[in-house]
């Protein structure tokens, strides 16, 4: 008898039919994984228009190498432009930085020339310029115009500000002594400063020519100046004549100054002549105030030190004065002035400003004061002049609003008016009535004296009218001439003097001989009858050696 035991299996066996889906799953996962691992980034770039963009056709290129493709072009929600979705190669991922730029290359005809002709037939494409900022950006704003300079190009980027946008446009040349050393990259209007801003790029190594004292001016067009010496024409290169441009240089007599960094801001002057008028960058504001009338003083009027221009009048601070409230006696009118130390041969730098402040401070102690002077008698234009008045009352620097206030003195007509007023006050204080009474008495005496004097003068006149009196001067002149002639004859050089001298000499000699004779007679009275035998003369003997 056999045991019939049922065979019990523990469960279902793996069916072979599941192998196929499993393999398919593995392959699919590997494909997906491979796809994820090899897929490039997808980015979005906003443009103003979709001009030149075609989905699936427009490529993204870097140095003429295809690195991506436009997958989608969609209108922005606010209809302000289009957003292009671009699929890039994986290798391009590291190029997506914060300042990476994209622009559409299409055929262009502009001031800088004709470009992108190859796109007429082949269609446009998107050019990418890698940035140097941090990685990870996926959304960009495309440029409407191709950038003129690569971001990593060696050189210097500066911003120039101008009151008005002139004939200078993007792509115009930046010139140094007529040689093109850079270009204008962009022109925008700065709404905060309300100034036109030009971003320029100066190629290396010319960027070393730019310093803190460098001035930029609009070199567009032709400058024609007529003077007594004839016509004088200043032009830039042909490009700048036709298209405009920016030139830069240091003002005459000034060095280039300190080295400047990327992004520094400069003023764009409208011409080279305007630089010569205002060649200094650094200056300081002061306030001077005057009690007298400031009629004829306008903004821009010169501020001088003993005739040397050191600055200009900025404006009259009437608004600030009104805000402070005028007193009944009338407050002095404050005037804001701008002084440039560079005009006094000091370096055009911030250090000079602090040095000049100390000079002003010590000058005030020694009598430095501001005065209002008449600059032009015909037009009545006035200017502010500084000079030393050591006899003035000591004063100190004050403050008005945020400015330093320099003490002033009145001169000219104002000072004269004050002096006349003081004089009149003194005159009014005099006891004129008493003086007049005394004066009348004195005048009465004077009348009597004048009558006597008149009588005397009449007598003198009669005497002078006498013919004998009239002849007196002539006689006197003749007498003096004769006297002069006679005296001339008695000078040591005259013949009379010489003869007289000889005669006196002879007389002296004779008298001496007579004296000798008398001396002999006094000793021996009979000398005349019995002369003594004279001793023989001594003979001079030669010296014997």
């Amino acid at each position: 008898m056999s045991d019939m035991k049922p065979s019990v299996s523990s469960g279902r066996k793996f069916s072979a039919i599941w192998i196929l889906p499993l393999v398919t799953l593995i392959v699919g996962v590997s494909i997906v994984f491979n796809s994820i691992m090899t897929e490039g980034p997808t980015i979005t770039v906003n443009f103003d228009t979709a001009n030149g963009l075609e989905v699936g056709k427009t490529k993204v290129r870097l140095l003429n190498v295809d690195i991506g493709l436009v997958e989608e072009v969609a209108l922005k929600k606010d209809m302000s432009g289009v957003t292009a979705t671009i699929k890039l190669e994986r290798e391009a991922q590291s190029l997506l930085r914060e300042d990476t730029r994209f622009w559409v290359v299409r055929a262009r005809v502009g001031a800088g020339g004709v470009s992108g002709l190859g796109t007429i037939l082949g269609g446009g494409y998107i050019e990418m310029a890698p940035g140097i900022g941090p990685e990870g950006m996926r959304a960009f704003v495309g440029l409407e115009e191709p950038p003129l300079t690569p971001l990593d190009a060696p050189g210097l980027r500066l911003s120039l500000f101008s009151q008005r946008a002139g004939s200078i446009t993007t792509g115009d040349a930046v010139l140094y002594r007529g040689y093109k050393v850079g270009r204008v990259e962009s022109l925008v209007f700065d709404t905060e400063k309300k100034l036109a801003r030009y971003d320029i790029f100066i190629d290396a190594p010319f960027h070393e020519l730019v310093g803190s004292a460098t001035r930029f001016w609009d070199a567009s067009g032709i400058s024609l100046k007529a003077s007594a010496e004839g016509f004088e024409v200043h032009t830039g290169s042909l490009d700048t004549i036709l298209l405009g441009g920016v030139a830069f240089a240091s003002p005459p007599g000034l060095s280039a100054g300190d080295q400047v960094q990327n992004g520094e801001e400069f003023q764009l002057y409208k011409s080279y002549d305007s630089i010569l008028k205002n060649p200094y960058r650094h200056g300081m504001y002061y306030v001077v105030s005057f009690q007298q009338s400031i009629r004829g003083l306008v903004s821009g009027a010169p501020v001088e030190y003993r005739g040397i221009k050191v600055g200009r009048v900025e404006r009259i601070l009437m608004k600030e004065l009104t805000m402070q409230g005028m007193t009944a006696a009338g407050s002095a009118i404050p005037i804001l002035i701008y002084i440039e130390p560079g005009r006094m041969s000091l370096p055009d730098s911030l250090d000079s400003i602090s040095a000049f402040k100390q000079i002003v401070e010590s000058g005030i102690e020694n009598g430095l004061r501001a005065t209002l002077q008449t600059g032009n008698l015909l037009t009545g234009k006035q200017l502010i002049s500084f000079d030393f008045f050591p006899d003035e009352v000591p004063a100190e620097l004050g403050t008005f609003e945020q400015y330093t206030l320099i003490p002033s003195v009145e001169t000219g007509v104002g000072r004269l008016e004050n002096q006349v007023r003081v004089f009149m006050d003194t005159l009014n204080a005099l006891p004129l009535e008493t003086i007049v009474v005394e004066a009348n008495t004195v005048l009465g005496d004077v009348d009597t004296a004048v009558v006597s004097l008149t009588a005397t003068l009449n007598s003198v006149n009669r005497l002078l009218d006498n013919n004998d009196s009239k002849a007196l001067p002539g006689d006197l002149v003749a007498t003096l001439a004769e006297l002069r002639s006679a005296l001339a004859g008695l000078t040591p050089e005259s013949k009379i003097y010489q003869s007289l001298g000889a005669s006196v000499g002879s007389l002296n000699s004779t008298l001496e001989s007579l004296d000798d004779l008398l001396r002999k007679l006094s000793i021996k009275p009979n000398t005349l009858l019995f002369p003594a035998t004279p001793e023989p003369d001594l003979i001079p003997e030669v010296r014997t050696r």
Partner: protein
């Protein structure tokens, strides 16, 4: 008669006494007096010439010793020194300076420079020398200023004994004085 004979004898005795011989010396320059000058640069003349009183006579003077002087009686200048010195020095200075020096005898009053000279000593000495002490002053009459003021003291040994040699030594000394004056014009 006896008195008459006595007087005759007396006069005869007087006449027999010896009479000394008078020697006179003329002080004149040996330089040529013939000259011609065109456009003289400056008119210069001799002004005052004064001599010390002891030599203002005609006799030559000899210093014996210790400042004692003897005036020679038989040896005399032919004319007073105050006269002859003017002419002599004018001629000698002219020769030295190469220009006319006027001796102021014509009464000119247009001199530009004038030379005043004073002779303090001019005599022979006991030790056989001639001595000259002089002083002069040069005046600029246009500017009314003194150009030069100098003194002169020199001696010159006699070449031989006698007054002739003394006069020659005096001339040598006066020539040196003229040269010194010429150098200060």
């Amino acid at each position: 008669m006896k008195y008459f004979v006595l007087v005759v004898i007396l006069f005869a005795t007087a006449c027999t006494s010896s009479v000394p011989t008078l020697q006179q010396y003329l002080l004149r320059s040996d330089t040529s007096s013939q000259y011609a000058v065109e456009n003289p640069s400056a008119v210069v003349g001799i002004g005052l010439v004064t001599v010390a009183s002891y030599i203002d006579g005609l006799g030559l003077v000899l210093e014996t010793s210790n400042r004692e002087v003897r005036v020679a009686r038989d040896h005399q200048w032919a004319e007073p020194l105050r006269e002859s010195l003017r002419t002599y020095l004018a001629r000698e200075i002219s020769a030295e300076a190469g220009q006319v020096i006027r001796s102021q005898r014509s009464g000119e009053t247009d001199l530009q420079k004038r030379i005043d000279i004073r002779i303090d000593e001019l005599h022979g000495t006991a030790n056989g020398e001639a001595k000259l002490v002089a002083y002069w002053i040069v005046l600029d009459l246009e500017k009314r200023s003194i150009v030069a003021e100098n003194g002169f003291v020199q001696t010159e040994a006699l070449s031989e004994s006698g007054y002739g040699a003394l006069v020659r030594s005096h001339k040598i000394l006066l020539d040196k004085l003229a040269a010194a004056i010429s150098a200060t014009l």
